[in-house]
């Protein structure tokens, strides 16, 4: 039994927004794979909950006329990984969310929940950062689009207002067309794992040179983050192991991992370098780069 005052199953996003608006204590729940766990620990105890679980209007993956890939926020991880559109255009994202928790969790947990939790260890986050994802939020005042790089404001904190619902995760065409990526999650075991560190890299090549690079990390700071300066410096560099290593050297300058009981700062820094090197090499290879030294 969860400790709730009530659970209201919204009939639509609009309905959910209205329900949230009625009580400033109201909590939103989608897949529940984090929210119910927290509730059992005594968090959000006795509050009214508004469920957007399985709302059809925010479930599924589609592509818009301009090529923007749209993932409904209530789409579960299993369906994202299985989506032909995801497999064709952003396989990295499908592989990344296929590493969340367990098959049972992935059958219920949603990408919207993963993002809105605001945690730095979210498995979808580094890939979404490296794909320049845009988040469409809907609230009583209407819709707005927030780049994912501006969504997180601190550990567990985001710009989403209390009565706003995340509806879509949008990936613009230029972020995936000709772009290849790799996400590497580091955990202590191979399943049911919270990320110790995660690194996602996307590249676009031209003439065996980097034309466009994105490097993003999870658990390398209080929020997921991008390495903008490193990316800028890498443009124009030739494909190869040396560039992968340079990318890692530059990327670790941007991060601020900390020591926790899960891993020391020094170990995380080391991993950040190693993961970036490997992800960069693999991304370049996928993009047709020849990196044999």
């Amino acid at each position: 039994m969860y400790d709730v005052q009530s659970v209201y199953q919204a009939k639509s996003v609009q309905d959910a927004i209205e329900a949230l608006g009625k009580d400033e204590r109201a909590m939103i729940v989608s897949g529940g794979t984090d929210v119910w766990v927290q509730n059992r620990e005594g968090k959000h105890a006795g509050l009214p909950f508004v469920s957007i679980h399985g709302l059809p209007e925010i479930t599924g993956v589609r592509i818009e006329e301009d090529g923007t890939l749209v993932i409904g926020a209530a789409t579960c991880f299993t369906d994202i990984t299985a989506s032909p559109l995801i497999q064709r255009h952003v396989p990295m994202l499908g592989e990344a969310v296929d590493q969340v928790g367990s098959p049972q969790i992935r059958n219920v947990g949603t990408i919207g929940g993963n993002v809105c939790n605001g945690v730095t260890s979210a498995d979808s986050a580094p890939s979404l950062f490296a794909l320049d994802a845009q988040l469409k939020l809907q609230g009583a005042m209407g819709e707005r689009i927030v780049p994912i790089t501006e969504f997180y404001t601190g550990a567990g904190k985001t710009v989403r207002a209390h009565d706003e619902v995340l509806c879509e995760v949008r990936i613009p065409k230029e972020s995936y067309e000709g772009v290849y990526g790799q996400y590497i999650k580091y955990g202590k075991r191979n399943a049911m794992e919270i990320s110790t560190l995660g690194c996602a890299v996307t590249v676009k090549l031209g003439n065996q040179k980097l034309v466009r690079v994105r490097i993003a990390y999870g658990v390398a700071g209080p929020t997921p983050l991008r390495c903008f300066e490193a990316e800028a410096e890498l443009v124009g560099k030739p494909v190869g192991k040396e560039t992968a290593c340079l990318a890692a050297d530059l990327a670790v300058q941007a991060i601020r991992p900390r020591t926790s009981w899960r891993a020391s700062k020094e170990f995380r820094l080391h991993l950040a370098h190693e993961l970036c090197t490997r992800a960069m090499e693999q991304a370049m290879e996928k993009a047709g780069g020849k990196i044999n030294d």
């Binding site: 400790d3 191979n190 399943a191 049911m192 300058q253 991992p257 009981w261 020391s264 820094l269 080391h270």
Partner: protein, 770 residues
């Protein structure tokens, strides 16, 4: 023939259909729920408890605090009671405690009408404390005795034991052998938890003036005695029922929540009360494996002869004695039993109270800890001597006919050397050691191995006694009741096979009663010490022989032939000399029951006091791939070779080994309970405590060397616990072979490997923007 066959488990169908009932499945609808209130400091004293807010929760029934419960102290470990005071377990617990001895100690309990109400109310109970500094290791606790954890032990020392083997001291041996090499090492093992999938739970209710406790336990008869001690009640007024249980691994060889459940029903007028621990409580409020630290010295001649060893073992007990010093005493015994010091072995063992979760029995009873030390030491010595680690072991390990100089336990059926040779061959050991000798690069491979020795049951340290009862049904089938418990290991199945074998019937004619109920089950101390097929098997064999004799005596009467000429085979009374069928057992059984001339109820009950013991042994081989920059170890191959006497059911024996090896892999690579500086647990859940998942578990290869043990009822000896013993050191030694890095503490976690690889110069530390 039934013994030696891989029949399917007798309880498998119930378990795949959901028919098998576990404790929580049996609780009556009107059960009340109890939720423990846990201390939020690791060391100190409760000054006051305020339940004012808790009482307001809808569904609240009662708050019981540490100030309300009886002051009677009782012991909890699942040992047979000793009638000699000197050998009795330490009685250091009360139902709830004013003196806080670990973070999460039980200081109060809320009873409510639902589990949610109980949990809500328990969260609202406030306590005030006087706080002392936590004592996180045995050495720390022995050094800080301003506030002893228990008045009875002012030095925080529960016990110190000492033994020697050989005529001289280590120092004398050292002086005599100036050419010897000496290895000085500190080996450490960590705190781990059993993590049976079914958390500890019990419910209790009253029937008249008797208390009935239904519990997930390995030891129902012992629990009955302990409840009697805790509640100062004669044991005849207590009934303990043990249904199917979802694993135990030694944790449930201890009184966990049973005495409290029994007490709580008495404060609510005998209504049923359920004490169901959460997963988090299961980590901190039940038992854990002792973390043991070994300070060791070893002397070897340059030809690899082990001359002498000296060691001190420090065992962290946690807040309450539970099995206490028995564990480290057993642990250190492996040093003398597994290797032959030609001149001297000196061993000291200390068990100290600490402000950590209470340590108790866990699969292997101290041996996985000492085996880590002995097996690291063997590889470290071999490396120092430029010797193959297997050659070193063969030169120094226990030999056939070994007799423990102190306990007299004898290695009657010796298969260790054959285990080593079998594994060496199957693993292509020499080729692999050569292949992996000079590696460079980030990814390196290695092979390692470890051996072990393990006794069967607890004789002569404790009493070994068991009972069995067989009743002939009118259809010629047999009801089997054991005091020994099925805890997942397959006991009910092998007992059914033993019965079939000895009585002369097929297994489908044996109906075992899986539930133990102290009102009607024969007495047995329960599932622990890998004892049941051996000790309880002896009782069962006695009962089966007696039943068979009674059947044949009756058959002799009916057939008018001497009983000596008769036998039972394949459910028939046959002529012994040629097997000719004379009468179906079913027919005879019906006659015996309903005969108008001479009605007899044929049954047999037998108790056996076992006064023997024997050793099992074996070897584990591991091949690993180490990704140095990623600080990760991947097991490419793991093989366990066991010397466990005659196997009763080879397929189940193999399955038992799989589970043990898996536990050993967790012990070696993943599992450890972590605490902050205040003693608060950090990873008391199954996400942060890294039990291996299917993706972390390699295929496990199993081989047996079957040497019939003359003392085993069917040539058998210990198998339940041993598989969990050698995998961790085998993996550690394989990592040593791969990288040259010797890790002397468990587990080989990524963070620890990182630190070691940096120190060894295999990883260059990153300088980030910090």
């Amino acid at each position: 023939m039934s013994v030696g066959e891989s029949i399917t488990r007798v309880d498998a169908v119930q378990k795949v259909t959901g028919q098998a009932k576990y404790t929580a499945d049996l609780a009556p609808k009107n059960v009340l729920y109890a939720k423990l209130v846990h201390a939020t400091i690791a060391n100190g004293r409760v000054l006051s408890i305020d339940g004012g807010e808790a009482e307001k929760v809808n569904g609240f029934v009662k708050l019981v605090t540490c100030f309300d419960v009886p002051k009677t102290q009782f012991p909890t470990p699942g040992h047979p009671w000793s009638v000699e005071k000197a050998h009795q377990d330490v009685s250091d617990r009360t139902l709830l405690s004013e003196r806080v001895r670990l973070y999460g100690d039980n200081i109060a309990v809320v009873i409510a009408q639902s589990s949610l109400a109980a949990a809500k109310a328990a969260r609202l109970v406030k306590a005030e404390y006087e706080e002392y500094a936590p004592l996180m290791s045995a050495k720390e606790a022995l050094a800080h005795t301003e506030h002893p954890l228990h008045e009875e032990k002012p030095d925080n020392l529960i016990a110190h034991s000492h033994f020697t083997v050989g005529e001289e001291s280590y120092e004398q041996a050292k002086a005599e052998e100036p050419d010897c090499l000496e290895l000085v090492k500190n080996y450490q093992t960590q705190t781990v938890q059993h993590c049976h999938l079914e958390p500890a739970q019990s419910y209790a209710y009253m029937e008249g003036d008797r208390i009935v406790v239904v519990s997930s336990t390995q030891i129902p008869h012992i629990i009955r005695r302990i409840i009697g001690q805790a509640l100062s009640l004669p044991l005849g007024r207590i009934r303990v029922v043990k249904p199917y249980i979802g694993g135990g691994f030694g944790n449930k060889q201890d009184a966990l929540v049973e005495p409290l459940a029994a007490y709580l029903t008495t404060v609510v007028g005998g209504k049923p009360v359920m004490v169901e621990l959460s997963r988090e409580e299961n980590f901190t409020a039940t038992r854990v494996r002792h973390a043991i630290e070994f300070d060791t010295r070893a002397l070897v001649r340059r030809d690899g002869t082990l001359i002498a060893r000296k060691l001190s073992a420090y065992s962290a007990q946690g807040g309450y004695a539970s099995h206490g010093h028995s564990i480290v005493a057993n642990s250190t015994a492996a040093f003398k039993q597994l290797y032959r010091d030609r001149k001297a072995l000196e061993c000291d063992a200390y068990t100290a109270y600490t402000t950590m979760p209470t340590a108790g029995a866990m699969r292997g009873y101290g041996i996985p800890q000492s085996d880590f030390a002995t097996e690291c030491m063997s590889d470290d010595l071999a490396l120092m001597l430029h010797m193959d680690p297997i050659d070193f072991r063969l030169k120094n390990c226990v030999q056939a006919g070994y007799k423990d100089p102190h306990t007299g336990i004898t290695f009657y059926s010796y298969g260790l050397e054959e285990c080593i040779q079998k594994g060496k061959k199957a693993f292509h050991w020499e080729e692999k050691r050569k292949e992996y000798a000079h590696q460079t690069g980030d990814i390196r491979r290695g092979v390692g191995m470890a051996i072990f020795i393990y006794k069967t049951g607890v004789y002569p340290i404790s009493l070994e006694t068991a009972g069995a009862r067989l009743t002939l049904n009118q259809d010629g089938s047999v009801m089997l009741q054991m005091g020994a418990t099925e805890i997942g290991q397959g006991a009910d199945t092998v007992f059914s096979q033993m019965t079939a074998e000895t009585v002369g019937i097929t297994e489908d004619r044996v109906h075992i009663v899986s539930t133990q109920d102290t009102d009607y089950s024969p007495f047995d101390t329960g599932a622990y010490a890998s004892r049941q097929t051996y000790v309880s098997g002896m009782a069962l064999k006695g009962a089966a022989e007696l039943l068979k004799k009674r059947i044949l005596d009756y058959a002799a009467e009916v057939l008018n032939r001497p009983a000596e000429e008769l036998d039972i085979r394949q459910n028939n009374i046959v002529q012994a000399k040629d097997g000719d069928v004379l009468l179906a057992l079913a027919k005879l059984a019906e006659e015996a029951q309903y005969s108008l001339k001479h009605s007899v109820h044929i049954s047999a009950e037998y108790s056996h006091h076992c006064t023997d013991n024997t050793f099992s042994s074996g070897a584990c081989f591991a091949e690993v791939e180490v990704d140095i920059p990623m600080c990760r170890v991947k097991i490419l191959r793991i093989l366990a070779v066991h010397d466990s006497g005659t196997l009763i059911n080879p397929k189940l024996a193999e399955a038992q080994v799989h589970g043990g090896v898996s536990m050993g892999i967790g012990y070696g690579l993943y599992e450890e309970m972590l605490f902050n500086e205040k003693g608060k647990p950090l990873n008391d859940n199954l996400l942060d405590y890294k039990l291996p998942t299917a993706m972390d578990s390699p295929d496990m290869e199993v081989e047996f060397v079957q040497v019939e043990d003359p003392t085993g009822p069917y040539g058998n000896k210990a198998l339940g616990e041993p598989p969990a013993i050698p995998p961790a050191p085998a993996i550690r030694n394989a990592v040593l072979n791969a990288t040259g890095v010797a890790v002397d503490s468990l587990p080989l976690s990524p963070q620890k490997l990182f630190e070691h690889f940096v120190r060894a110069g295999l990883i260059k530390e990153e300088q980030g923007n910090v």
